[in-house]
Amino acid sequence: MAKTVTQEFVKGLWAEIPPFRLVLGLCPTLAVTKTVEDGIGMGVATGFVLVCSNLLISMLRNVIPSKVRIACYIIVVATFVTVVELLMQAFTYPLYLSLGIFIPLIVVNCIVLGRAEAFASKNKILPSIADGLGIGIGYTLSLAALGAVREVFGSGTFLGNPVFGPSFQPFTFMVQAPGAFVCLGLMLCLMNLAGKK
């Protein structure tokens, strides 16, 4: 039962949205969602790597010998990650600074390798791109949502703009490490509730 390209795309937005449905890629989710901006930046960077590596791996899927496939995937992914790293340094340097070592760590983001292994290596180019795009956008949305919650409560701002009056006392816990875990855990709970029909 072949799914259409649209279906492959849409599933990443809800049915398999990372990291809520696919519990993968938690580290950046926790680390770079202090603000919406960082979240979106990370999501876009990951999405870019995801689409490119899906595309390339899907193209090469008949060439790559299965014994060294993981090594090949790693090379492909690492290459694109470095591309992103260089591009971000050159054009969005502040974002690059605030994302820190989590840009190179996209390499070991389980989502990217997971999609390469589970999807791109078995599917044609177009569905692979759709899959990568869907998951990437889904991931970006999740990070942005989490970033929004943490930024609004933790700093009282949204995309840097104050949302509450001056009397607002930021709930600083939210932007600290423990708050990241707790917040993600509770959002996961909400997603479970929403998904339960």
Binding site: L86, V108, L184, G185, N192, L193
Partner: protein, 191 residues
């Protein structure tokens, strides 16, 4: 000596790789449901992380920095780690089967454990010398193992509780990890 002590305490307790730097969460949540798997993973991480830390430092120092190839850091480190894990796995299987049976299933997971790559990158970023890099890698790994084992012991109890359904498993695990991370604020400023 005091310098190293500060580094060790800082890496284990204060800048705990898992709880403060958010690295290595996927295997953290995955292997902490049972004590045995947590201990296995903790040992495997200590084992691989120290070797990877040392190797990455050597490569960074004698290859990347020497030839101004810093931009290839990510790709070279990840390849080194992947190869190292493969090699360790093969070596253990042949030479120390007892250890292999304990750690074997965790080794492949380590390639994608961002704590390993993360520590290598941190070591470079902090510009540690060789001994500091070695000590830091070890301390980070111990910190990871410590957090993992503590978390597993707490989690074993939570699983037996009556956690509401939507919160079960990963969700409550994350909240608990958060609270453990909160507790680790106790050590703030201690060095």
């Amino acid at each position: 000596m005091g310098d190293y002590l500060v580094l060790i305490i800082s890496c284990i307790l204060i800048n705990n790789i898992l709880l403060a730097q958010y690295l290595g969460n996927c295997p953290f949540l995955g292997t902490s449901k049972r004590m045995e798997t947590a201990v296995g993973m903790a040992m495997a991480v200590v084992f691989v992380l120290v070797m990877a830390g040392v190797l990455a430092w050597v490569i960074d120092h004698y290859v990347l920095k020497a030839f101004h190839l810093e931009y290839l850091m990510t790709i070279s480190f990840i390849l080194v780690i992947a190869a190292l894990v493969q090699f360790v796995e093969m070596f253990l299987k042949k030479s120390i089967p007892a250890l292999y049976s304990g750690l074997g299933i965790f080794l492949p997971l380590i390639t994608t454990n961002c704590a390993v790559l993360g520590v290598c990158l941190i070591n470079v970023k902090e510009e540690y010398d060789f001994m500091h890099a070695l000590v830091a890698s070890f301390a980070y790994a111990v910190g990871y193992g410590l957090a993992l084992i503590l978390f597993a012991s707490v989690r074993e109890r939570i699983i037996l509780g009556r956690v509401p359904r939507p919160l079960q498993d990963t969700s409550i695990g994350l909240v608990t990890a958060g609270l453990i991370s909160l507790a680790f604020y106790a050590f703030k400023g201690m060095v």
